[in-house]
Structure formats: C-alpha cells, structure tokens
Symmetry: C2
Subunit: 313 residues, 2 copies
C-alpha cells in the first residue's frame, strides 16, 4: 500500500513538471500562433542577451509566428524598449512590446481618467514617458530622486491636491520624499487611485545578481497607506485584454514564455494560454519542484532556443 | 424585534467605547502601579509637548506611580530619548525608557547572537547606538544613506557575508542601496535573522502631519525578500518581558496609555494590562468607533492630563 502511494506521488509529481521534449516542442510550435515572451531572464539578463535567443526568435518569425514581448519592467517605455532590442541586434517594433509602464497609462485611458487631474509617479522614466504619450500630466519620478526632507518644527510637506492617481513601479532612486508624497496623495486626495505596475519581488537588473523589484517599492507604499493597489502588470490579466483585441486570436493559441512562476506562468494560466517556463532567469529547477510551489507551467526547459532546437529533432 | 436589536447594538457599541469618567479615572489611578506611555502623539508631537502632559506626569509621580515610556520609534537610543525628554523639560531616566531600538539589541542579546557576526541596519542612529551599547557590531544606517548604485554590465554588489542579522526600522534616508544590501543578507547569508523594530504605518514626525513609519520600510524588505520579520516592538509582547522582570509587578497592575490601536492598545491587551487610548495622536474618535475597527481600549480620553484632572473631580 505504501508502495502504491509513493508511485502515485511520483506520477503526480512528474505530471506537474514536464520537461519540454522534441514531441511536445513540435506540438507547441504547431498549435501556437502567438508567442508571448517575458524579457528579463528570458531574452536578456541585464544588458546581456541569453545565448541562442536571436536565432530562435528569427526561426519562429520565419515560421509565421507572431511574437509579443510582455514585460513587467516599468523603467522603460515601449519606445525605449524598442531601442534596447535594436541595440542588442533584435528587430522588434514598438507595437510588439507590452510593458507595464504602457499598461499603467492604458489603464488610466480606459478608465477615462480626467485629463485635468495629475499622476504622481514613484518609478522611473518609462512610466512618465508613457503617461505623456497618452496625454496625461505626470509628476515625480526621477526628478524627485534628489529631494531631501528637513523635519523641523512647523514644517508642512506640500503636495499637489489635483493628483488623482499614484503609479508605483520599480524605482532605483526611491527615497523618503517620494514615499511621503505618494502616501499623502493616496491617503488625503479624495478618490486618488493607487496603481502598481507589477509586484515582482526581484529582477535581474544585472546579469549576475537579482535586485529588489517593483514588489519592494509597491510594498512600501502599501505599508504606509495600508491600502492595496490596482495591479496592471502580470499576473493580472489587464494586459491580455489589449493583446486579444490587438491580435484577434484566442488565448488558447498563445503561449506565454517566462522565467517567473508567480508572474509570467500565473499570467499565462490566468489568461488561458499555454505556458512554458525557461530556467534561464530567476527560477531554478529545485524551486519549480519544491513542494511549497503550487504554480506549474505546461512545460519547462532551460532556454528559449530549446523550443526551436527540440522541435527539429 | 427590530427595536430590540437596535438597542442591543447601541449597548454593545457604548460598552466598547468608554470615555474616561471621573469615577473610572479614580479607579484607574487607584488600581494601577505602573503607567506605560507611548511617546509620539501621547507625550509630544514632533518636537512639541502636548498640553498639560508634564504636570500630569509630575502628579502621577507624586502619587507614587512608576512611569515607563515605551516607544516604537527606533530613530533614537534610550540615551538620546532621555536627552529629548530633558530638552522638553521632563526629567526621565534612561532606565524608564523602552525604545524599539533597545528592544532590537536586547533581542539579539537574549538569543545569544554570536559576537563575531555583524548586524546590518536599515534605520537610523538609535539602532546603531543600542547595538554598540550591547557590544554588537552594526553596519549600514545613516552612513549608507548617500550611497548610489551604478548598474553597469558585470557589476557585482558586494555585501558582508558575516552579517547574521538585519534590523529594519524607520529610515528617513532609505535608498535602493540599503534595500539591496538588506535583501541580499536575508536571502543569501545562511540563517540571517530579519528583525523589525516595529510596523507602524505612520508616525507624527512633525506636529502637523503624519509621515510613513517603520511599517513602510519593513514592508519594502518583506516585498523583496518575501519573508516576514521577527517583531520586537509593540504590539509584540517582547518588550513586556523586560518590563515585568524589571518592575516585578503583575501586568494587571499596569496601564498602557497610547494613541495607536494596532500597536499601543493591542500591546497592552496582549500583555494583560489595562489600556487607555488618548485622542491627541493619530487615532480620531470616528476611527475608534468605525465598524471596521476591532481593537477596543478599556477607556479613551482626549489627553494624558485628563487622567489626573478627571480623578480630582
């Protein structure tokens, strides 16, 4: 009896963790029209391309597959991302990029955010640029990175009462001034929205190390306001609405390829896509197989290039 | 039937919210040997004394009551707090002060933290000073407040592998460098402790405004590490162990006087003390009576001085 239980457990376990095989790679390529790729840890790490990725993307394009790059990294706008791709030798158009900075601006647009209201940004240039493209007035961001606070008697922190939304993303120039500004707007300005680009705990800002992600900065604002944000990046399905509308393709014909279980894979699963975990980023095989994990991709493999290489075998 | 229900609700409600009366003030003074006071919002706001407080403290002392100041504010050490009291014209000895900076150092001492290990501080001078008094080696704090990060290819963030504990408290000089340092120690150094002085969402850093509290900074580190800290300040009962041992008085003979429901009043209740909420700080009467609140002090009143004034009526 004990033996059966062990075998059952092994079967259950192996069923949850399927390495991509030549057969499943061929099935995947045949059944998927749109490949959605996360960027950090999938296409590149920091400023270094992951081996074999450009060739794999080129092969998929030549097979007629649509490619879309869905990134939670809000530090760049779509325009800035297209430049980064080009600098790394990959030809990607702005229309193929869905960043959480763009998602934040689109959320305001779709929700008819009044153009007379302003948006305070705890984050970097990408969010401010997407706000500008969408016709909104953004405050804060990098400009407030060097502000200091002098806490003397009678000091009154001034903030703009016309701020109707605060957008929080990764901010490498986070300081107490910005935290107080965001906190006062969310707590004191009636109806002020609190929007998080994403809540990734960490990210591969350099190729050799992980760094605190937007989840760190967002948590700080949750900590001071005791409020929860509206999430527009992965794993929320907000960006998927755009994708489905743009490509007019059912999500069952899409495959989300990512390196994070709690954002990429969950986003894919929440949306009804096929899912492929690549181990080239922040998730290791032991982490995938750890009993505490309860998010399982359809398949896992070491690197994006395996999709093409395995399907040729 | 509906009428009865309404009356029952009213009775239940009034039972939960008892304003301090002349009779209850006399009972309180008669039955309590040790008054525990929170400081920010109770004794002072920023650098301004709250009206009538020095006289009230003097009166309680002259009645033979012991006074203890239990503060979650970790930016000062006990020595620095005694100086602040003196500067405001109140004579308080270091032994009467229990700050969360002191509690953090005492936690390490009681848990036999190895003296060869170091402690990284995301916080201010008070924590570093208490660590030094307790014989531990602290790193970080104000010194790291001006550090910048240049994220270039190949950059490796260096951190001390002998850090065995990270203490996080209020830090008005919070930056990305400190967040990465703390995150790496907690994630990478085997067995590294993650200690929070407290988790107050906000605090009265100036007399006219609330500012993000330690809860904001602690949440950021929780967000990047995805770990929960050991809490040594209120409402955890860690500080109470010291108090009971020091004064050899049963907690039923103590009264916790504070302005925060989720720290001060909860701390008092968790420890078996009597509790008095003063409305001179961050909690308003509507907030106390809000249906979403489920923490009720034994009594509430506007100001510490009421305890003495009412008991004379």
């Amino acid at each position: 009896m004990a033996e059966v239980t062990t075998r059952e457990k092994e079967e259950e376990s192996s069923c949850k963790h399927n390495p991509l095989s030549p057969q499943s790679a061929r099935d995947l390529v045949a059944s998927v029209d749109v490949f959605l790729f996360d960027c950090d840890g999938v296409i590149w790490k920091g400023d270094k391309l992951i081996e074999g990725v450009p060739q794999a993307l080129q092969s998929l394009r030549s097979m007629g597959k649509k490619l879309v790059f869905v990134t939670n990294n809000s530090t760049k706008s779509r325009r800035q991302y297209a430049k980064k791709f080009l600098a790394l030798g990959i030809d990607v158009s702005e229309d193929e990029i869905f960043s959480s900075s763009f998602a934040a601006a689109m959320f305001l647009k779709l929700n008819n955010f009044p153009h007379g209201k302003k948006v305070y940004v705890v984050g970097e240039e990408g969010i401010l640029e997407e706000l500008e493209f969408a016709g909104f007035i953004g405050l804060g961001g990098p400009e407030d990175g060097k502000r200091n606070i002098v806490l003397k008697s009678g000091f009154q922190f001034e903030y703009d009462k016309s701020v109707g939304a605060v957008i929080v993303g990764l901010d490498k120039y986070i300081n107490y001034y910005k935290l107080q500004y965001a906190t006062l707007c969310i707590r004191e300005n009636p109806g002020c929205l609190f929007i998080a680009t994403n809540r990734d705990a960490t990210g591969n800002l350099t190729e050799s190390q992980e760094w605190p992600g937007a989840g760190c900065i967002v948590a700080a604002v949750c900590g001071s306001t005791q409020k929860e944000p509206i999430l527009v990046g992965k794993p929320s399905t907000f960006m998927m609405k755009f994708l489905v509308e743009r490509f007019q393709i059912d999500t069952s014909k899409m495959c989300m390829v990512g390196d994070r279980l709690d954002t990429d894979i969950l986003f894919g699963k929440n949306s009804g896509c096929k899912t492929l975990l690549v181990l080239s980023g922040c998730t290791s095989l032991p982490a995938l197989q750890d009993p505490s994990n309860n998010i399982y991709p359809d398949y896992y493999t070491s690197n994006v290039s395996d999709v093409v290489e395995l399907s040729k075998l």
